[in-house]
Symmetry: C2
Subunit: 269 residues, 2 copies
């Protein structure tokens, strides 16, 4: 372990961690900040698509994290600081006491990604997801149900935003995704490779529960307010999740889990 | 409408709305604070189990909210204030510009509640849910899938906490629930009335997806960390949500949606 004690919040060696709340909002060329033990564990694991660059932790967390930290490459600096110095660096009280700086993977090309998928595959396509909790939830659910990856349209928020990573419990660091794909191009590329593209929308007359999934299936999800654009829905097989009681409102990440469970776990319908 | 202009943050008539962030944490005898248009709409609707007591909104929101406000009882004061005064009263920037004070319904007795249920009913039992986002999500999903209500054990957090209400998109104000029920008493009371009690747990060998639900079914959910206690699971029919990819982690509210969808929408298995 490359341990580096830090006692001064102005220490230049930890400038990447300074005021992370503000910096998160402005983005950072090819890098991201992650927080918490669960996420650090993913970042240090072979499953991660991202490279750890540096770590900053509270002194008191060192022993409990030793097994994770020892799995980091030798050259990754592990800065340790008293909690108050850590809080001063981060710009807020960091009760988890764990920050990591990572490098994002190279962007994935849509065609190359799709061409590399197996005969049986489930994908999640997300359009207009601007809320980081929802983005994190989509990644968590995609990973939990073994989806091959996610396709994000050009209006989606960054899955490498600190909160999205945290809500994803690290899935954002390991599950492949393609960014910046227009919905129409998404549908076209998927259909060209034999995917059945399902549009999840409350307006559909067909129910998800009655679907017999094709070997290659993609589900398209829109944002909670406007949902998917009518012209996108028109190019897909629209499906609704049946609800009752006059309260037809599901969170978009929740919707992904209900659909993915049906696609991957409900056999022999 | 009983419109009352407010221009002074020290105005005693709006003291119930003062520093709501702090007060939320300490609780408030029989009252709760709700925020946002969607929740206000539920509070003002016949479906609400709660009584509106007072409203405080930003001046600029008045016209857009007129249809909701006119549905409130005549004696409910509608305080209107400039945005900066509103922010000063609330103690933080209230970008939604809408706060409502409501009165909680009378507590519901477990036996009385269960005895009033129809022959076909689905219930959600929650044990140890301490996170308000998750509590709100459980209510939202219970309402969306037409569950008859929720049973909360004595270690659950308050569903009338501001954030829980917001995440529930108002379901916390309309869906019946019984509080403070020990898990063992919950299982006993449910079984006595012919409910099959399912314990959702990753440790189960039986998969949710293969279940043929009984006419009366309750699903029990534990907190994300420790989950349900082994002695509770032992008294129920344990079911797992099948996951794959070595990432077996679902949010507890998400779990409720997957289970409720299976119980209420998947027919003819």
């Amino acid at each position: 372990m490359n341990l580096i004690p830090v006692s001064d919040i102005a220490d230049l060696r930890i400038s990447a961690f300074r005021d992370v709340k503000e910096r998160d909002l402005t983005g950072r060329q090819g890098l991201f900040i992650a927080e918490g033990e669960v996420v650090l564990r993913v970042l240090a694991s072979p499953a991660s698509r991202c490279v750890p660059v540096a770590v900053l932790i509270a002194e008191k967390r060192l022993e409990a994290l030793r097994d994770i930290l020892e799995r980091l490459p030798q050259d990754v600096p592990v800065h340790i600081a008293p909690q108050d110095v850590l809080d001063g660096i981060a710009g807020f009280h960091l009760h988890r006491g764990i920050l990591a700086l990572g490098r994002k993977p190279e962007p994935v090309d849509l065609g190359v990604f799709l061409d590399g998928l197996p005969e049986r595959a489930v994908l999640v396509g997300a359009c207009g997801i601007g809320n980081h909790d929802n983005m994190g939830g989509l990644f968590r659910n995609a990973a939990a149900f073994g989806a091959a990856g996610l396709l994000l349209d050009q209006t989606c928020c960054d899955p490498f935003y600190r909160k999205a990573i945290r809500v994803s419990v690290g899935a954002a660091l390991r599950t492949p995704f393609v960014e910046g794909v227009k919905a129409s191009a998404m549908v076209e590329a998927l259909e060209a490779r034999g995917f059945e593209v399902l549009a999840l929308t409350p307006s559909a007359s067909e129910a998800l529960a009655e679907l017999r999934p094709a070997p290659r299936t993609a589900i398209l999800l829109g944002s909670e307010g406007p949902g998917l654009a009518p012209e996108v829905i028109a190019r897909c097989r629209p499906l609704a999740i049946r609800m009752s009681g006059g309260f037809d409102s599901l969170n978009v990440a929740t919707t992904s889990a209900v659909a993915l469970h049906h696609l991957t776990a409900v056999k022999g319908l």
